[in-house]
Amino acid sequence: MNIIVLIKQVPDTETKVRITSDKKGIETNDIKWIINPYDEFAIEEGLKTKEKLKEGTVTVVTVGPDRTVEALRTAVAMGADNAVHVKVDGMLDTYLVSRALAEVCKKENGHIIFTGKQAIDDDQAATFSYVAELLNYPSATVVVKCDISADKTKATLEQEGDGGAKNIIETALPAVIGVNKGINTPRYASLPGIMKAKKKEIKTYTLNDLGLGSETNKTVEMDYQLPPERAAGKKLSGDIPAQVKELVRLLREEAKVV
């Protein structure tokens, strides 16, 4: 069984975002890059699936500049068997990234494809389902449990629905599965894993190799803006019961929200 995990390298959550002077992006010089946290769960789920089935290979795939190879090596150190890098220099939008990922999934003949439910940089939460549609595969997202049938033709998934509901989904395979926090606890890289990852040969494609050489983004980023700073408001004073009374009065009469 070919298990594929789609991952993205993103700025660490502690990053303080600064916008470049031309307003076309954010300053990336001193950013600490990490694997998108939801994609770490996807890597772990890929590895666990292989262990449960006692067969198969786990291939991690990313699209991005040279620095993103580091994310692939981290995944290999965790236990992934193979890594594929689609090397691009500029920013690719959801359309073009999904096209590239779908082409790699075809080349690697993916049987089950895991990815995070969203990346915490562009917050599109769209790639899993865009890729699934391009491949004509079913998909499910916000998945917190995944069981594959003995004959490997289908999977039973548990999905977090709105307002705390739990949905049980049955899907045919191949499928694309967007995983959520809570599905597992990602393992740390082992020392032998880290050694192996250093030497691991990474398969590299360009968009041209994937037949997408003449494709361009379908969206254009115009400018980035910082949100307006919120002015610090009133700290109330007096004893606590008086403060609470005053708060409720302000919420009703001034803010008009209760």
Partner: protein
Amino acid sequence: MGNVFLIAEQKDGQVKRVSLEILSELTRQGVTTTTLVPGFGDMGQVAESLVNHGAHKVVVLEHEGLKQYNTEAYANAVFSYLSSQNPTAIITGATSHGKDFLPRVAAKFKAGLVADGISFQFSGDKVSVKKPVYAGKCSKSVEFSGGPAVFSVRPNVLPTQAANKSGSVEKVTADPGNVKAKIVSSVASQVKKVELTEADIIISGGRSLKSADNFKILADCAATLGAAVGASRAAVDAGYAPHDMQVGQTGKTVSPKLYIACGISGAIQHLAGMRTSKVIVAINKDPEAPIFQKSDYGIVGDLFEVVPLLTEELKRLKSQS
């Protein structure tokens, strides 16, 4: 501005408010829109609400396979209708369902996609969508090049406005196509919960709640307000609350009318997820907590003392009005 389509969302014959929010904004910008409603059964109320908010034309995409939400069925049904319509824009609400099926619609058109916009502006043939990135640490404006503009709009950011208009309503039988993944059963939460991303009021707790049981004091207050209960990452990581309650960069991004942060210090990744709330209240023992810098009203005090008093005071107020 060509052929603009809104895909309205309904549940059990009730339209989702975000669909009306988008429609009100389109009406305000003078954009003529066809509104599609995938569903099955009596859609009379849905169509009426949509027309009352400015829909020129409502098309109910009807099929039994659309009674319950399904990713593939929704995408297939919408595409089967739109494929002959030469759409220039396709819009829906950035709800859990909207975010799930819209990328499939975009993929069918090989179109660009912007998810979770907080504003959009049509001018001539172009549309620009503003969307938060890095969980709201900044935002970007995006335009489209080639193909239809496909985007979703976050709930609770645009006002609804009734329009005195008349619109047509028609029904077509839609084709949900071949569906390979299906919800076979669904268990609602034991406690009736308001979905965080669509809630008007949210009361959230941090690690200082000290246990899962103590979240009950927030739930009591929430029940009084009809609010949803949220949590910080620290509280979720400590096991006090499930991840579906987490607000912040690795949880949900919310923009309620009122956000009450209890015992939450205001880490950058939490602030990112709730800074667009209209009114923020902070309750924290530490007067130096960064959350006070971002809140409209603050009480320096122990949440275990403040929150129950707040619940009582709100109850008193409710009983008077």
